[in-house]
Symmetry: C2
Subunit: 384 residues, 2 copies
């Protein structure tokens, strides 16, 4: 099939910031795109060739959108999987597959998948409802502390809580969930794997999430991770195994923990471009977004090596500000060396909303880290 002609159509479910950055690449290659998103103000309304409004969890909306494209991909995993399955049956190429999405959408199923495929992950228990956890504790089947995770719709840290005592369970929603053993870790790492339908597979360098010492929030994504070659090799192998187990097509972002004993265990995976890969736009030979397009179109994969070291800082809405967004001091950070802000184009800010990100590239990772801190201390996402 000739992707580089207007007879071909790539469908994207979701029109948020990840979709927007995918569109930069489809525009570069002049690949015709059609986007479905629930919001009339979605960032992808500009930059797509066709834009439709619809509920991504609605069978009819997804099916009717999907049947008019040649290849269908996603920028968010919470989409109607039954529609995708039926689209596959009528010959639409759906990447990632409905099977993979069904497995990943439910955290219990995702964990069982790791166990079934001998992929390292923290021990866990599965519960139909949160209220059943208390029984497990009282009969000795579960010990504090542990991590509670909602099985469905966990996204960006919502639906996750560390439980140290009974009262931590009190305000949790009574839903299908898992509990995971709380494993102390040295580092949170991630590897993005790209694979195309022909089976070509490549990994990006291991990245490291650096946490704020007090707030327990990721402050910086650092590429490459400041870890030993042996640990990097192990993390890369685990990520490759995961992608192969899924027979995955597209990007698979594999989030992992490096334990106290330098073991690598999988935390979770995302079958799409990922926050841990944003620095690839400036730092890598091939950005994760270009790579995702290459992969789902079965084009040759690009070089995943870094041109330079890269650090990514998320731009999230400051606490105490809700309304029309202003990026205070954006001019200041644009004057710093190798600094590129990406503004997602959401009109309204609210506390912790992802509004953009900033990439810092430098030949010297120590220098890059210093500049990243200056960026973090300068720019503020507030209101007018």
């Amino acid at each position: 099939m000739n992707y580089f002609s207007s007879n071909f159509k790539l469908g994207i479910l979701g029109g948020g910031q990840l979709g927007k950055m995918l569109l930069t690449e489809t525009r570069k290659f002049d690949i015709y795109t059609s986007v479905l998103d629930p919001s009339d103000e979605a960032p992808c309304k500009v930059g797509s060739n066709e834009f439709y409004i619809g509920d991504l969890m609605d069978y009819d909306a997804v099916y009717n959108f999907g049947k008019q494209v040649d290849v269908l991909t996603i920028e968010i995993e919470n989409v109607n999987v039954n529609a995708l399955e039926d689209l596959e049956k009528i010959g639409i190429k759906v990447y990632p597959s409905s099977k993979t999405l069904r497995t990943i959408q439910n955290k219990a199923t995702q964990k069982l998948f790791y166990v079934d495929h001998n992929l390292p992950t923290a021990p866990f228990s599965r519960f139909a409802y949160t209220v059943e956890i208390e029984d497990a504790i009282s009969n000795g089947g579960l010990n504090f502390p542990f991590v509670w995770k909602s099985a469905q719709f966990g996204y960006d840290g919502t639906g996750v809580k560390i439980v140290r005592e009974l009262k931590d369970l009190e305000n949790l929603p009574n839903v299908e969930c898992i509990t995971e053993k709380l494993i102390p870790f040295k580092n949170e790492l991630a590897v993005i794997v790209a694979r195309n339908p022909s089976g070509e597979i490549k990994t990006y360098p291991v990245v490291e999430m650096e946490f704020h010492p007090e707030a327990n929030q990721v402050e910086y994504v650092i590429c490459p991770a400041r870890i030993s070659a042996a640990v990097a090799k192990k993390a890369t192998e685990v990520a490759l195994q995961a992608a192969q187990a899924f027979n995955h097509v597209g990007l698979l972002a594999v989030e992992m923990f490096q334990t106290a004993d330098d073991d690598i265990i999988i935390n979770e995976v995302a079958p799409r471009p990922h926050n841990s890969g944003h620095q690839t736009i400036e730092a890598s030979f091939t950005s994760q977004f270009e790579q995702h397009v290459r992969a789902v179109l079965d084009l040759p994969l690009g070089n995943t090596a870094n041109k330079l070291n890269g650090i990514m800082v998320n731009l999230v809405g400051a606490e105490g500000y809700t309304g029309d967004v202003v990026y205070k001091n954006i001019e200041t950070i644009m004057g710093m060396d190798g600094v590129t802000p990406h503004i997602y184009g959401k009109k309204q800010t609210r506390p912790f909303r992802k509004m953009g990100h900033v990439t810092i590239v430098n030949e010297d990772i120590v220098e890059a880290r210093k500049i990243a801190e200056c960026v973090k201390n300068s720019i503020q996402v507030i209101t007018e």
Copy 2:
């Protein structure tokens, strides 16, 4: 003024490939854009926030478009300058200025500007009509060989002819023109200068045009140029002097010749992103398109250094093919290391039409040059 809000509007005259690549950057920064172009099929129809159809040489079309934006820039210099001048009078920021565009649009005026500002350029004569050239030859005022250039609307080599004998003049249009002394040169070089209204000024590394040994056509733009540091310094200084003489705002691409004696003379300038800077997208810290946006919005200029060496190959329509375009073997070149095709999105190809370009980046310039040759020998812009 807050550029990063929907209360601000950047206007762009021209919606071709240069405009399209500018829009990649305005989307990255979420800067609201409005584009005017004569064609309903212009590449900028997708990716701009507003798109209008109109004749860029028409006073009313340009004036009415321009009065509804805050900052107005161009991606092509053949626009109605009287409209720009009147827009400046009502307070619209026009970069480059109407004065600069008026000087540059006419090659005779452009040459006189160099002379007036002590900028090195080849000796020339000015003629109101091509037919007057014969008189100058017969009275000994002009000697063969020389270069004939139409004063108006010269673009991408059209309107230029080397005249070695009388009969070479025969089929030339009878228009305002200049004749230039034909100066043998070792290299054709270019430097892109960026300057913002606050006066911050930066130059990109000198690039070199490598010509096909027989066809006398630019085959590769190579960055950095394979020249001595002394010649590079001289070329950079000449380019800086030119930008300062114009009090230029935005990008100024300065095309120069390196003579047999290693002198540098200006060939011509373009007050916008330029073909000689396309490799900056992948090779530089700051692409020329991002830099143009930074400059016209009076934001700090980005780092102009190379991350890696870069080579650019133009994708032009192959001879003998007119119609719906096909990029034969594009998959092949996408499998080569560090190779990125840019497809402009023009539906119809015709011989020598600029349809896209390909960038090759590599730490080793010799390796990059080899890969560039493989690219050139593989991809073909043909029809179905």
